[in-house]
Chain length 94, copies 2
DNA sequence: TTACATTTGACACTTCTTGACAAGACAAAT
DNA sequence: ATTTGTCTTGTCAAGAAGTGTCAAATGTAA
């Protein structure tokens, strides 16, 4: 499960781009790109932004999805996940 | 910055407990407990729960603060942090 | 089959985390 | 001024986790 990865794959396929091409654009191996799309590996902020540019999606959308995935990974499957996230949202607004 | 750590310290001091005592309760070094209260080291879920019991605070409060800290750490100081957290909150409700 | 795209597992390498220890800073009391 | 007790800081080694690459395996279409 990985929202950004899904989005990247979906967008990439819509534009008939190969993993190889997308991987080249951020200068990583195709294998890594494959893993990133399936949520097996994480990308860094710079890579996410470059991908947004290549795929002509707003940087904001990709970066916030990327952060979203990080948040979800941080709370895992904890029963109190929702409360934890809510608390973080409240605190961060200061 | 670390909300759970602050809360632990505050509660511990109100009850006149020493770092040493609290540390002993979760079987860690005093130095580590000191760092945990100042957000320099992380505790694990079990330790957080044990501390809640010792300090007579609800487990839910401590665990959700602990998750809150993890979320905030995950998004860092990213300008899109708030959006990322909001997105995660939406997605997690399914 | 052949050709090409993607996935998988293994690997080296680096960075992060963990718990432990010793030494230092600090304050209170004598 | 020295002792005592609490807390903090820096460092260390072992283990865990992350990063990117390669080669082999799998899938897919002509």
């Amino acid at each position: 499960m990985n929202y950004l990865g899904q989005k990247i794959r979906e967008t990439r396929e819509k534009q008939n781009l190969l993993l190889r091409q997308v991987a080249a654009h951020i200068e990583v191996d195709t294998a890594l790109m494959s893993k990133a799309e399936r949520g097996e590996r994480n990308l860094n902020r710079e890579q996410v932004i470059k991908l947004a540019q290549l795929l002509k999606v707003s940087k904001e959308e990709f970066v916030s999805l990327w952060l979203c995935d990080k948040v979800i990974e941080a709370v895992g499957t904890d029963p109190l996940a929702e409360q934890g996230i809510k608390k973080a949202l409240t605190k961060i607004k200061d």
